[in-house]
């Protein structure tokens, strides 16, 4: 049941000047498991994601991905190991079409990316991967739209689709549901649940219903530290969590 973690952190710490945004954090992510991370605003959840994806280097500590320490590696190298991420603040290519956003994402995995004289459209496999990712994220009908013209919720879907188009084994999803309408949200929850079967997923989310619907493991962060971690029901019942976070009624 409890497989070896694909990613494991040891004493992971990140300071911003005097502020310790991530403090001595240990977290395990496993294949086939959705690990939700919750916590109040400013708890350090996004900073943790940034450390794992390489967007920020840690101040100290280790990040073991398949037993290799990847702490401080550049984002593109971590990405190429099979770590995909989505951003809390939508981070897409606004001037491009929706399909081109995903096609670029898929291209990052292509060995022929540096060929400079062959037409991009010729690589049908890339377009197919991109279309498949759009289909999963529920954006297939919008493929030819310019990303900047999408609604906020659709841009959130695109954010996820781009992550999927890189075919990652480990997904770091930073508040994927934020800003989505009810229908898209429900659809996205189903997608995340499905992805959880054959991926390792770290899910940061404020929507508690969604968290308890899909998570097999739950970590609560407060002030940069892990307050509690374990099975969702057990964590929910923990008095410390009750008083520190869930009690205040998010």
């Amino acid at each position: 049941m409890a497989a070896e973690p694909i990613l494991r952190t040891e004493a992971l710490t990140r300071r911003f000047g005097g502020l310790t945004a991530v403090n001595d954090v240990r977290i395990d992510l496993r294949m086939g498991e959705i690990h939700a991370v919750i916590g109040p605003n400013g708890a350090g959840k996004s900073t943790l994601t940034n450390l794992l994806s390489g967007d920020l280097p840690p101040t100290s500590g280790r990040i073991l991905f398949r037993d290799r320490d990847i702490a401080g590696r550049t984002p593109h190298r971590i990405s190429r190991l099979g770590v995909g991420r989505s951003y809390q603040k939508t981070n897409i290519f606004k001037p491009f079409t929706v399909l081109e956003n995903c096609r670029l994402a898929a291209q990052s995995r292509a060995p022929h990316a540096l060929r400079i004289l062959s037409r991009a459209e010729r690589f049908r496999d890339l377009a197919r991967n991109a279309e498949a990712a759009l289909e999963l994220a529920g954006l297939a009908q919008r493929a030819d739209e310019i990303a900047a013209n999408l609604s906020h919720g659709e841009q959130r879907q695109l954010e996820i689709a781009m992550c999927l188009a890189t075919a990652p084994t480990l997904l770091l999803l930073d508040e994927p549901l934020a800003g989505m309408g009810a229908t898209e949200s429900a659809r996205m929850v189903e997608l995340i649940r499905a992805l959880g079967r054959d991926h390792a997923v770290m899910l940061i989310e404020h929507d508690m219903d969604a968290v308890f619907a899909v998570a097999q493991r739950l970590t609560v962060m407060v002030n940069g530290e892990v307050l509690e971690s374990g099975m969702p029901e057990a964590v929910r019942a923990s008095p410390a969590v009750q008083s520190a976070y869930l009690g205040h009624g998010e």
Binding site: P75, F93, F96, L114
Partner: protein, 325 residues
């Protein structure tokens, strides 16, 4: 559809340029030759400025290095060989781009502008102040390079018309090469870097390497224009590396419309022709002496009212810089 329309416009423009020598006087033949060489220069810069989002103010370094390469490789009383000196000039530029690019591409924004300028100034002083470049007087190229194939002269570069043809052919080749490159996966990645470099990195693109490759390609292509200019005028001096020359080519790109290859060509024609017109004493008398003032006003007007440059005049709203289909 749009693409077809622009292909027809392009073919018509090239045909007009090909036929131009039949009508134009020697003066205009030389002027258009010079403009087409500048158009290559502007297109190469547009790859950086318009397509990759790298605003360089040191592009003249490549122009000058290529010119000096030809001058230094030319025997004093014999013709150099175009087949070896042109690639050598481009290789020298590519090397300079590789070395300086590895440093300047670690900076961005205003610092990128300053560091590219600084490297160009360093190159300027190397040619200006060392024995290598013949000081501020520069070097003369007394005999034009020859372009032979199997013992036969392909084009006589001393002949104005034939040299014109060579420059036209090279301008067309550079245009087609860059268009192809921009439509390739590599070109798409550059567009992605321009739009959102951080996202490109997190998608797994080693963006530094992509930018460096673009920088080297742009440098090598700029070398073609510097080589042609040195060949045309028969001498090189340090001024061709000056920041003034870097500024002119940047102005061509902006005037024509950044991120449109044909815009760079239009910008080169517009800037040089405007200069010719505004400085024409027969038309403007005393005012012609102050042509730079009039030019300045015109450029401000273009910047204000044509944010997409002259190339944006006839075009319909652009769908996207990198279209999915």
């Amino acid at each position: 559809m749009n693409r077809r329309r622009s292909d027809i416009a392009l073919a018509a423009a090239l045909l007009a340029l090909a036929l131009f020598p039949l009508a134009g006087s020697t003066f205009y033949l030389q002027l258009v030759t010079k403009i087409m060489a500048m158009a290559i220069f502007a297109m190469s810069l547009d790859l950086l400025v318009g397509y990759t989002g790298l605003v360089s103010l040191g592009h003249a370094a490549f122009f000058g290095i290529a010119g000096y390469t030809l001058a230094l490789l030319s025997p004093q009383y014999e013709a150099a060989n175009l087949w070896t000196t042109l690639p050598a000039a481009m290789a020298a530029c590519a090397m300079f781009a590789l070395v300086t690019g590895a440093l300047v591409l670690r900076t961005s924004g205003i610092y990128f502008i300053m560091v590219t300028l600084a490297f160009a100034q360093m190159a300027y002083f190397v040619f200006h102040d060392t024995a290598l470049g013949g000081g501020s007087d520069g070097i003369y190229i007394y005999v034009k390079p020859e372009m032979k194939l199997a013992g036969r002269t392909l084009l006589d570069l001393g002949d104005l018309g034939q040299f014109y043809d060579l420059v036209l052919i090279l301008m067309t080749a550079v245009y087609l090469f860059l268009r192809r490159l921009l439509g390739s996966p590599f070109g798409r990645a550059l567009a992605g870097i321009r739009a959102n470099e951080q996202r490109m990195r997190s998608l797994g693109f080693p963006t530094f390497r992509y930018k460096l490759a673009a920088y080297v390609i742009a440098g090598a292509l700029a070398g073609i224009s510097g080589y042609l200019a040195a060949l045309q005028f028969g001498f090189v001096n340090p001024e061709i590396l000056s920041w003034h020359n870097s500024g002119i080519v940047l102005m061509m790109v902006i005037l024509g419309g950044m991120g449109t290859l044909h815009g760079a060509i239009i910008g080169a024609f517009a800037l040089v022709l405007l200069q010719e017109v505004l400085a024409n004493q027969a038309w403007f008398g005393e005012a012609a002496k102050h042509w730079q003032l009039a030019m300045g006003v015109l450029i401000v007007l273009v910047a204000l009212f044509l944010p997409r440059g002259l190339a944006g005049l006839g075009a319909r709203p652009r769908k996207a810089s990198a279209d999915g289909r």
